[in-house]
């Protein structure tokens, strides 16, 4: 149920984001979602793509340092308080979140939350136990690309 997330190191200066995105677009690889974390000096681009192994190869061949991380996707109702409820569950279980990002779908009433947990396996157990919906790779593909 875990998803593979690709992370890339980028320098924080104009034009650095475009190149890796172009490289994977050229190979026809669709990006399901992405997030960018940055400091004054550098940034980390995090990507969830349809064919992560192919994308990783393409990026590495083009010279990027790529890191592979397991993340967990949860869908919640896209309405005020939806995220807060999910977070309350995680907090109550004492799960440590390294970082997270979210996106809402074009269609439907759901928002997808992507979590980087310290311990993703335990997190999935807790989420399922508490009745939250963990989205796996195939499902994410189908809801995103419809």
């Amino acid at each position: 149920m875990k998803l593979q997330q690709l992370s890339l190191f980028l320098e924080n200066r104009p034009g650095r984001l475009g190149a890796p995105l172009e490289a994977i677009a050229k190979e026809g690889i669709n990006i399901l979602t992405l997030s960018l974390a940055d400091t004054a000096q550098f940034g980390i681009l995090r990507l969830i793509v349809r064919e992560w192994d192919k994308a990783k190869q393409v990026l590495e061949d083009a010279g990027w340092v790529v890191n592979l991380t397991e993340v967990v996707a949860v869908d919640v109702l896209d309405r005020p308080g939806g995220l807060a409820e999910a977070l309350a569950v995680l907090e109550g279980a004492g799960l440590n979140i390294e970082y997270m990002y979210a996106f809402s779908l074009r269609r439907g009433d759901k928002a997808i939350l992507i979590f980087r947990f310290e311990d993703p396996d335990r997190a999935i157990d807790v989420l399922l136990e508490k009745g939250l919906h963990v989205v796996d790779g195939d499902e994410l593909l189908s809801v995103v690309s419809g």
Binding site: S7, E11, D38, T39, Q41, G63, W64, V65
Partner: protein
């Protein structure tokens, strides 16, 4: 008559400066006599030197003329490191009255030693240095070179006392107090690194102190390379004459060579330090006027004689007479070195030291580049390091931690603050052959 020059009243020369005016034949006699003595001393007491002499079939008697020095083996910085700490001493420790140390290539310092006589010679050549810069009894010299293991502070201090000047032994740093004492003590001369002085100029302006309106008239600058453009700026902004002096711990410290009022090259105190210029590739001696690597032999050092020490500094010797009247030869100001060592804030830095730190943190050596800049007169060093798969993480905090550990490791080895920037893989230019590790932008726009 020379005796007229020996008047140490204002404008005259100190008696210690007499050897600066020796006729060439007399100078050469002194040099040959001292060369033969120092070669004997080293041959009899320094195992490394004796072995190298024997390998070449040489004995001290092989030195019959000054030119015979060209047969002698070179000494290099690695020899000091390999024999750390006391392997090149020629006298027992009971005759050594002082040790100094400077940064080395592997984190281990280079150790140098002085007998009582060596300290006297050092005081003499530093007195001659200060006299060369127009100082005399009655001057107040603020000594902002660092006191301690670094040779700059104590070298200038003893020289100023030998000259009869008044020393203010403030050492480096504490800029506001530096400026207060320049003003309150009527300081007429100051010595420090040129980059530190340009900072003092800025700071004085911020404090509303006009250095041009004070008695300060001479700046004696050394321990790092600086340009004519920087000199023009210093002279105009502080209303002083800025003199370049040269020295290195391995030879004695400051006091090897100094500019005079003509500011056309630095007079080498060659009755104590015999200069040669060699082709850095072949080791062949080059005639005066040709550019090459400066090689120095200490003619009178007792505790740690240096025979044909390769300084790695590129310059040329000027044998034409100087308008100041001194007969000792001059060398042109040092513009570059034959290795990739650089000097920042008075500290010798080899890229290999930075490499050792990067290697210690990462396990493998990443591509890196050292960038030197000058910000408000202060030299800054920053290191750009390409991110490798081994250290890359999807977490910002982990990368910040890597960055901090790299910076700390470098600062620990060098003892100075450095900036550290993580950059993308393959973003540092790869050159054919030798990598260009150091980008020096300090003189751009200076």
């Amino acid at each position: 008559m020379l005796t007229e020059l020996w008047n140490d009243a204002a404008g005259g020369f100190h008696p210690a400066s007499a050897p600066d005016f020796l006729p060439e034949t007399a100078l050469k006699q002194v040099q040959l006599r001292r060369l033969r003595a120092v070669v004997s001393l080293a041959y009899e007491n320094v195992a490394l030197f004796r072995t190298r002499m024997e390998e070449r079939g040489l004995t001290p008697d092989s030195i019959q003329r000054l030119e015979d020095i060209q047969q002698l083996p070179f000494t290099v910085k690695a020899d000091l490191r390999d024999t750390y700490p006391f392997g090149l001493f020629a006298t027992p420790m009971s005759d050594v009255v002082r040790l100094h140390a400077s940064s080395g290539t592997t984190g281990k310092p280079i150790v140098v030693a002085y007998t009582r006589e060596d300290v006297d010679v050092w005081s003499e050549v530093m007195a001659r240095t200060l006299a060369c810069c127009g100082l005399h009894r009655g001057d107040v010299l603020q000594n902002a070179f660092g006191y301690g293991l670094f040779t700059g502070g104590l070298g200038a201090h003893y020289g100023a006392e030998a000259l009869g000047a008044t020393v203010v032994p403030i050492s480096g740093g504490n800029s506001d107090r530096q400026i207060m004492l320049i003003r309150d003590f009527g300081v007429s001369a100051l010595c420090c690194t040129p980059s530190y002085f340009t900072y003092l100029i800025e700071r004085a302006a911020e404090l509303g102190v006009d250095l041009r309106a004070l008695p300060l008239r001479a700046g004696i600058f050394g321990a790092e390379p600086w340009t004519d453009g920087m000199r023009d700026h210093i002279e105009a902004a502080a209303g002083i004459k800025a003199y370049d002096i040269y020295g290195l711990s391995e030879i004695i410290g400051p006091g090897v060579a100094s500019e005079c009022s003509a500011q056309q090259g630095l007079h080498i105190f060659e009755d104590h330090f015999y200069p040669e210029i060699i082709d850095p590739e072949t080791g062949e001696a080059l005639p005066d006027g040709e550019e090459g690597e400066l090689v120095l032999t200490t003619l009178s050092k007792k505790a740690m004689p240096m025979i044909r020490y390769r300084t790695r500094d590129i310059t040329s010797l000027i044998s034409e007479p100087c308008e100041c009247g001194r007969t000792i030869r001059r060398m042109r100001r040092i513009g570059r070195r034959s290795d990739d060592m650089f000097i920042i804030r008075g500290v010798n830095v080899f890229p290999s030291q930075v490499e050792a730190a990067l290697l210690a943190v990462e396990g493998t050596l990443p591509h890196y580049q050292i960038i030197l800049t000058r910000d408000q007169g202060l030299d800054q060093m920053s290191v750009e390091v390409e991110v490798t798969p081994e250290v890359f993480s999807d977490k910002i905090r982990a990368l910040e931690d890597v960055r901090a550990r790299l910076a700390k490791a470098i600062e620990h080895i060098l003892g100075i603050r450095v900036g550290l920037r993580l950059v993308e893989p393959r973003s540092i230019a790869r050159s054919e052959g030798k990598a260009k590790r150091v980008i020096d932008r300090r003189n751009e726009g200076a």
